[in-house]
């Protein structure tokens, strides 16, 4: 059970001294974190570079299904493929991520040019058939997004960690 001294919030002198101590200790922790657990410089730089990913002309296909969150866990299955569904208006993109690569389908079926984005500077085109089925032999490592060009439309799926 907690001791009653947790409740000293009513402006008594004791509470004020206690509050001051807490602030000082939090400040000490802040200094310690800066030394022992700082944000790595290369990560800061990546976030800076991410500005180029800002594209007002592209539509965002929102993640509407993620097997990691929405699916019932499969008992015994070693590494079930990650199933993802993205939607932008009437367009749906189904994606399956396995250890062997990417597999997917644009719905309604249509031809599209599709690229896998791996970061601010990494772009890799995918082979797509006339029905909008696509595949890649290289599984995405780390964050990725798909950029689709269908006719005059550019659609980018929400960034996600594979």
């Amino acid at each position: 059970m907690d001791t009653g001294d947790d409740e000293g919030f009513d402006g008594t002198e004791f509470a004020e001294i206690d509050e001051f101590d807490a602030d000082a200790l939090e400040e000490e922790l802040r200094r310690a974190a800066a030394v022992l657990d700082p944000l790595p410089a290369d990560l800061l730089q990546l976030a800076m570079d991410a500005y180029v990913l800002h594209d007002l002309d592209a539509r965002i296909a929102e993640l509407t299904f993620d097997s990691l969150v929405d699916a019932i866990p499969v008992r015994g299955a070693e590494a079930p493929p990650r199933m993802l569904t993205f939607q932008a208006g009437g367009l749906t993109v189904d994606v399956e991520v396995t250890g062997d690569g990417l597999l997917g389908q644009v719905l309604p079926p249509q031809s599209a040019r599709i690229e896998v984005l791996g970061g601010p500077a990494a772009v890799q085109p995918l082979t797509v058939d006339g029905m909008g089925r696509f595949a890649s032999q290289t599984p995405p490592t780390g964050p990725f997004a798909l950029r689709l060009r269908t006719g005059e439309d550019v659609i980018v799926t929400e960034w996600l960690r594979a």
């Binding site: 409740e7 922790l29 974190a33 030394v35 991410a50 500005y51 800002h54």
Partner: protein, 212 residues
């Protein structure tokens, strides 16, 4: 237990930013400038809010590789949604909550969560010390480094709840309680009392060790 006391007023008057270098009130304006093509505004957003994202990632004790990927995912997605974020002035909360969700996904995807290797974290102190601090006043520096190391060690040994909360609170600039709330999924009203209790617990551990 004085359960009749409502502690809300005590932390309601804490400033929203709690003294950070980036004025969170200006975050909305920075987001708008970045939308309009101002790269300097984006840079300011990243500099001001990166430590918050990092602290949320670290609070969830992911492996370095997973944590780095979550951090990148959060910023890539933020860049992608820039201009579509409904409340730009709450970009900090948007980032904190996205970071939390991504961390939880990583945890869900792992059969077993591997906590950060403490000795590895502590190794960074010695790495930091060797080249630079040997040049300055060795005794003082060593004493200070030792003090920081002890503080960190006691912090790491706190219970999960306290360790998580304090890891986010110690971001620099200090996050608002709303940001902490969405970063950890705890009610804003619980943060003040919980913070107080956790810091008191940490203080007690340090006192028991005879350190300042």
């Amino acid at each position: 237990m004085s359960s009749g006391t409502l502690p809300s007023t005590a932390y309601d008057d804490l400033p929203y930013t709690r003294g950070g270098t980036v004025d969170r009130a200006e975050v909305g304006a920075l987001v708008q400038c970045a939308v309009d093509g101002d790269a300097a505004a984006w840079k300011a957003l990243v500099e001001g809010l990166s430590p918050l994202v990092w602290s949320v990632v670290r609070a969830h004790r992911l492996s370095d590789a997973d944590g780095h990927e979550v951090y990148q995912t959060v910023w890539f997605r933020f860049a992608q949604h820039l201009g579509r974020i409904r409340e730009p002035e709450k970009a900090g909360s948007w980032l904190a909550s996205t970071a939390r969700n991504e961390c939880l996904k990583v945890i869900r995807s792992l059969t077993r969560l591997l906590p950060t290797d403490d000795p590895q974290v502590l190794d960074r102190v010695s790495e930091d010390r060797t080249p630079e601090q040997s040049l300055i006043d060795a005794e003082d520096a060593a004493a200070e480094a030792e003090q920081i190391r002890l503080l960190w060690q006691e912090f790491e040994e706190l219970g999960d709840r306290c360790r998580q909360l304090l890891r986010v609170l110690m971001a620099s600039p200090p996050p608002s309680y709303v940001e902490v709330s969405v970063a950890l999924g705890i009610a804003v009203g619980s943060i003040g009392p919980l913070r107080q209790r956790c810091l008191r617990r940490l203080r007690a551990r340090l006192d028991a060790r005879g350190t300042v």
